[in-house]
């Protein structure tokens, strides 16, 4: 990075944080700190929700995933609009009318304290681990760019994010998200434009898409059903819907966002905006990854994008094989664009497979996916844009980490401290405890980030972790909303049964992880209904 990039990075991050803190300078109550006094307009809530999902992982790992595996990951989001409709229609009015701070608070009103405590605990464990992963993602950036130790980086990032969340609460989180989302879209557009602009003469967008499409990189819809295939149309629509339903309906980091809306209509509009905007946004992120792949057909990529592993491979046989395969692919691609016949196509596909095979051999034992986009940004973007894209990645990491830390602190305060430890405290003591809990979860995030180092593709790791727990959470909320005869004990045992089955299925590796949400949810609902037969006390 050059000096001007550092200036752009510092100004962008500084402006975002300062703006968020300025907008939240008058926060003095628990309601203001946790729910922004339920006063935010729908467009702020909508962009805040989008920013919470668009983590640094989204930019680092999703683009790398498109580079390695094509665009089929987009199918993961096909169920999201359906989930947004269900959450808007059924979840939002119930949470709003119950006048709760957390989704789990609602469960005590509907079931009992033990069900609320169990689900709160599940959330705290799951989100606590996930927040470490999203904190680790930008550490990858600094490790590559500055050569800093990633442990030092996660600690530094964790301290900055925690301080800003402690002072600003949800209002600061939401307003910084709003700014971050706009900058993210600008940075993403710049990266996509430059990837296409830097292609050689005679290779425009049409030719780039043809080269990517012929190699199977534009596989945005795959209709072959396979239980073990993580991303196809069916797992995306059904499994993705259940995951999104659980995420938006039961995860406090999301519920808390739309509870900040002025009324039910504002909360619903923020969700429907996501239903419409999320898929195109992910499409362009994946397309950027696919275009970066085309860029590296004509500009020789390193044998590995992981700069720390590069010295060990330099001058080796595998590097020479890689260079030869890259040269053959570039030549085959040029020939294919010129001749457009079957022989040229066959040569191009063979060369593509050869590059993949050599790259796979060179990167055996470590994950290269998360470094692809960073290498492209730092090596090939013009001065100023590098700082902007790095700011986007930092902004994304900050928005997700701060939101998750804030939601973890909220559940700790509302569902644990206020409910079980100090029900008769005053406003100021609750506010201070929330800030203390924010500090605790910030530290926890830093520690758990150290575990994220060897998890492979971070975006998949986060979604896998969520899928281990979300099915159980969704099941208990469906029992609460749609089965009035089911009571607390049946719901409590249903959640335990659902989690036991999900972990067993994961242990056996029987199906792809997107199906965990469907299976877990179904088990919780079935077990809850079955157990309620034996419970003869008065129905809810």
């Amino acid at each position: 990075m050059r000096v001007f990039d550092w200036v752009v990075l510092a100004l962008t991050i500084g402006f975002i944080v300062a703006y968020g803190l300025w907008k939240s300078r008058k926060v003095a109550t628990v309601s203001g700190y946790l729910l922004a006094d339920r006063s935010l307009p729908w467009y702020t809530v909508a962009l805040s929700i989008m920013a919470t999902q668009a983590s640094a992982i989204t930019f680092i790992s999703t683009t790398g995933q498109a580079y390695a595996d094509g665009m089929r990951f987009i199918q993961f989001y096909f169920g999201l609009p359906l989930a947004m409709i269900i959450v808007g229609a059924f979840f939002v009015p119930r949470f709003r009318n119950a006048n709760v701070y957390t989704a789990y608070e609602y469960l005590e009103k509907r079931f009992d304290a033990k069900t609320r405590a169990l689900v709160s605990l599940i959330f705290l464990i799951q989100r606590g681990l996930a927040v470490g992963m999203v904190l680790y993602a930008p550490a990858v950036v600094l490790t590559v760019i500055l050569g800093w130790n990633d442990s030092v980086t996660t600690i530094l990032m964790g301290v900055i994010v925690t301080l800003y969340t402690v002072f600003g609460g949800i209002r600061a989180v939401a307003w910084t998200d709003f700014q971050q989302m706009i900058i993210m879209l600008v940075g993403l557009g710049a990266a996509l434009f430059i990837a296409i602009y830097k292609l050689p003469e005679g290779v425009g967008l049409q030719e780039a898409l043809e080269l990517a499409g012929t190699a199977g990189k534009l596989n945005a819809v795959t209709t072959n059903f396979d239980w073990f295939d993580r991303y196809n149309l069916f797992s995306g629509v059904i499994g993705g819907m259940f995951l999104a339903l659980a995420y938006f309906g039961c995860d406090q980091s999301q519920v808390q966002r739309y509870l900040t809306g002025k009324d039910i209509a504002q909360s619903r509009m923020s969700l429907l905006f996501n239903a419409v905007a999320k898929i195109p946004m992910q499409f362009f992120i994946l397309l950027t990854g696919a275009m970066v792949w085309v860029f590296y057909i004509f500009t020789a990529p390193p044998v590995t994008f992981h700069s720390g592993k590069l010295p060990a491979l330099t001058g080796t046989v595998i590097e020479r094989q890689h260079q030869a395969a890259i040269e053959e692919r570039r030549s085959a691609a040029t020939e294919l664009l010129a001749k457009r016949n079957e022989a040229a196509r066959a040569r191009y596909l063979k060369a593509h497979q050869q590059v993949d095979a050599v790259h796979k051999e060179a990167t055996k034992g470590f994950n290269d996916t998360n470094y692809v986009f960073l290498n492209f940004v730092t090596q090939h973007l013009p001065v100023g844009f590098v700082g902007l894209v790095i700011a986007v990645i930092f902004g994304a990491a900050m928005s997700v980490s701060s939101g998750e830390i804030n939601s973890l602190a909220t559940v700790t305060m509302i569902d644990v401290y206020k409910r079980f430890l100090n029900p008769s405290g005053n406003e100021q003591s609750y506010l201070w405890f929330t800030r203390l809990a924010t500090v605790f979860w910030g530290c926890y995030a830093v520690v758990s980030a150290q575990l994220a180092r060897n998890l492979g593709s971070l975006v998949e790791a986060v979604n896998l972790l969520g899928s281990l727990f979300y099915g159980g959470l969704l099941g208990v909320f469906l029992l609460a909303f749609f089965f009035p005869r089911v009571k607390g004990t049946a719901a409590f045992l249903g959640v335990l049964a659902g989690e036991a089955v999900i972990f067993y299925v994961h242990y056996t590796g029987a199906v792809g992880f997107l199906w965990y949400n469907v299976i877990g949810c179904a088990v919780v609902v079935a077990a809850g209904l079955l157990l309620s037969i034996f419970d003869r006390s008065e129905a809810y």
Binding site: R94, L211, T214, R268
Partner: protein, 42 residues
């Protein structure tokens, strides 16, 4: 637990119509992506 009266949708007159538009949008997007996946091949 009873929910209060829902607030009116800001567009199209009702929430049901808004939800229907989102579903139609999803179908169109998937169809466009399927076209996209198969249109750029040599």
């Amino acid at each position: 637990m009873q929910t209060q009266e829902n607030e009116r949708a800001p567009f199209l007159g009702s929430w049901s119509r808004l939800y229907a538009v989102v579903i139609v949008y999803l179908v169109v997007v998937i169809a466009l992506f399927a076209w996209f996946a198969n249109s750029f091949k040599i």
